[in-house]
């Protein structure tokens, strides 16, 4: 099997000694010594509580940690958990660790986990991020139960977020995947998820795996593959997600991993998304969306300046991507003062759709095209921050819903661009 070649001989030997399992828990890590210990304990407690009869294995895929993360995983003892939760598993719970490379790569880490799941014939796989510092035992039940007991193919989380956190998700990734694939999946790019062994094996074969490209992240493709393939998807609310490491502000990389993947999937999934109009809710446990509205300092002046300079400096590039009317509207927004500045929902949706069609037609190098969207996104982000500055959670949710409806309303525009009628 081609996908087995990624596993080292030593790792395969360890897997063989484990034997077949029902549940596989994958934890990709890179220098997560501070968080991985409590995460393993929470996982063990969750398994004791909700899946005591199931055969389970915890697999840590490490991207070259220098702080002893793999040792912590291998040395994790379940005896403390027994005492704390007053329960026992009926099976041996294995915890193994493998170092796939000296530098972290999400693609290799996920591929290793899914390949191991296939080799061990796991019925359900769950992936939890090693840098999460508040994994709770209850997450195991909320993410695994729908896959293991209710026959869902994919379970994604929903979180409680600050209203200005994840603006790329709320203003682009969620509305666009919803409009295209007709499913209201709140977190299409989640660090935690669970999938069935069947769907994991299918994705393992379908996905075009890169060889150690640090920028490649298959999470978006996994979700789109499930959406376009008509898989049964479920969402579970996990509460607030906290990490020790500060969330990356590298917008270009975030755009590559999410929007680059989304645009690139559009071509292969055209038969699926071109026939869909409107959207429908998907099975959800807990609230679909929860926002908090604490104070968050944002440098609006810099956002405006980066948007305006981007539109002016990248004019020659934008001319080959956007229609003249959209470019003119963006130019007018760029020239307006900070008080009256606005990138309207309609302008934003048209901009994104024109970028998607240009990506498909490869009008310029595709990576350059995704990078050219970054300053325009900053303009939309500034509009969102300004419009929701004093908004309550309900108002923020309503504004996001309105943007989603705009994405759905203008979907025929994308189809016209796609088919070359515009």
């Amino acid at each position: 099997m081609a996908e087995e070649s990624i596993l080292s001989d030593e790792f395969i030997r360890q897997l063989i000694s484990v034997g077949e399992v029902d549940i596989l828990i994958g934890i990709p890590t890179h220098n997560d010594a501070k968080t991985v210990g409590p995460a393993i304990q929470a996982i063990q407690a969750g398994l004791l509580k909700s899946f005591p009869r199931e055969r389970a294995v915890i697999i840590n895929t490490d991207g070259g940690s220098s702080d002893g993360t793999p040792d912590i995983v291998q040395g994790a003892s379940i005896s403390d958990v027994h005492r704390s939760y007053n329960g026992y598993t009926l099976r041996t719970l294995h915890a193994i660790s493998t170092q796939y490379a000296r530098t972290p790569s999400e693609a290799v880490a996920f591929r290793t986990i899914l390949s191991a799941g296939e080799l061990l014939r796991a019925r359900a796989c769950i992936v939890l991020s090693g840098d999460s510092c508040n994994i709770e035992p209850g997450w195991m039940d909320r993410l695994l139960r729908p896959v293991y007991r209710e026959n869902f193919d994919l379970v994604t989380p929903t979180y409680s977020r600050h209203k200005f956190e994840g603006v790329l998700v709320t203003n682009l990734i969620y509305p666009m995947t919803r409009a295209l694939y007709g499913q209201r999946l709140r977190e299409p790019f989640a660090p935690e998820f669970a999938c069935s062994g069947r769907f994991g094996s299918q994705f393992l074969v379908q996905h075009k795996w890169s060889h150690g490209d640090e920028r490649d992240d298959p999470r978006m493709d996994l979700v789109i593959s499930a959406l376009a393939g008509g898989c049964r998807i479920h969402q579970s609310f996990l509460g607030v997600r906290q990490t020790v490491k500060p969330q990356s502000r590298d917008l270009v990389n975030a755009m590559r991993q999410t929007i680059g993947s989304l645009f690139s999937c559009l071509e292969s999934t055209f038969p699926a998304w071109s026939k869909i109009s409107g959207s429908e809710s998907i099975s959800t446990a807990g609230p679909e969306f929860e926002v908090s509205d604490d104070v968050l300092r944002v440098n609006r002046k810099q956002l405006k300046q980066m948007f305006s300079e981007g539109v002016a400096e990248l004019r020659s590039i934008l001319e080959s991507i956007l229609t003249p009317s959209t470019l003119e509207n963006l130019r007018q927004s760029a020239e307006s003062d900070e008080a009256s500045f606005r990138v309207s929902a309609e302008l934003w949706v048209k901009t994104v759709y024109e970028f998607a069609a240009s990506y498909y037609k490869s009008v310029i190098n595709r990576d350059h095209l995704v990078q050219a969207l970054v300053p325009l996104y900053r303009g939309r982000m500034l509009t969102f921050l300004t419009e929701n500055r004093t908004a309550s959670s309900e108002e923020v949710a309503r504004n996001i819903e309105n943007l989603c409806l705009e994405f759905e309303r203008l979907k025929p525009y994308l189809l016209e661009l796609w088919n070359g009628r515009k």
């Binding site: 990356s248 975030a254 755009m255 590039i317 190098n365 350059h368």
Partner: protein, 234 residues
């Protein structure tokens, strides 16, 4: 006396007729070569144009951003440019062959030189082609990176990269063609050195405060560890 004149004239006329009769077939051969050469060059152009169109050659240029540069210089599309170039190289080659068929002593040496020069010309053209693509690609990558990193004067940075790569490619092309190798090498060295010195002086004197602010911003931000100006995108 009269017989001598008539004799000389007759001999001259005979020689002329003999010479013409000797040249005429070669002239006809030359004309045939020219005509056949034109036909072949025309066919080469047509076939090459079709192949390049099928291979979406223009798209490659467009994606690298070099097509825009050609249209700004009022040049035809890349496909048209390459097929016309192939036509003229083939046609010129046949013209040289035709001239060679005349058997004129001095010209044959020039014709031989031309055919010796032809491979270099092709290599130089390929260098220009890829150099142009590379210059466009790198300058656009620099422009995007500079805009997204909020660096000052992104267009100037992009233009400098385009000029540097173009000068480098041009020096390679001249070296390949064997034209003014030393002059080009020295000129390139002087130009490159001047640009670097100019940049260093400009950065050191003209942009002293800017550099100070830039470095302060970077270092202070790094010391703080977390940027406060932009919320997490994901």
């Amino acid at each position: 006396m009269r017989d001598i004149i008539v004799g000389e004239l007759t001999q001259a006329a005979h020689e002329m007729i003999h010479g013409f009769a000797h040249l005429l077939p070669r002239l006809i051969v030359m004309l045939v070569i020219l005509f056949a050469g034109w036909l072949i060059a025309y066919m080469v152009r047509a076939v090459l144009r079709s192949i390049l169109r099928l291979a979406k050659f223009d798209k490659l240029f467009e994606r690298a951003g070099a097509a825009q540069m050609l249209s700004q210089a009022a040049l035809p599309s890349p496909t048209e440019l390459v097929s016309r170039f192939a036509f003229w190289v083939a046609w010129l080659g046949f013209i040289m062959l035709g001239v060679n068929a005349l058997g004129i002593g001095g010209l044959q040496e020039h014709v031989a030189r031309f055919f010796f020069f032809l491979p270099r010309l092709v290599v130089a053209s390929v260098l220009v082609f890829f150099g142009l693509l590379l210059a466009s690609f790198l300058s656009r990558a620099a422009l995007l990176a500079a805009v997204n990193a909020n660096l000052p004067s992104p267009r100037a940075l992009s233009l400098s990269i385009r000029i540097l790569v173009s000068v480098f490619v041009l020096s390679m092309v001249f070296e390949e063609l064997g034209l003014a190798e030393r002059t080009m090498l020295v000129a390139f060295g002087i130009a490159f050195g001047a640009v670097m010195l100019g940049l260093a002086i400009a950065f050191g004197i003209g942009g002293r405060e800017l550099a100070q602010r830039f470095l302060e911003r970077r270092l202070v931000r790094e010391r703080r560890g977390v940027r406060e100006d932009e919320p997490s995108p994901l």
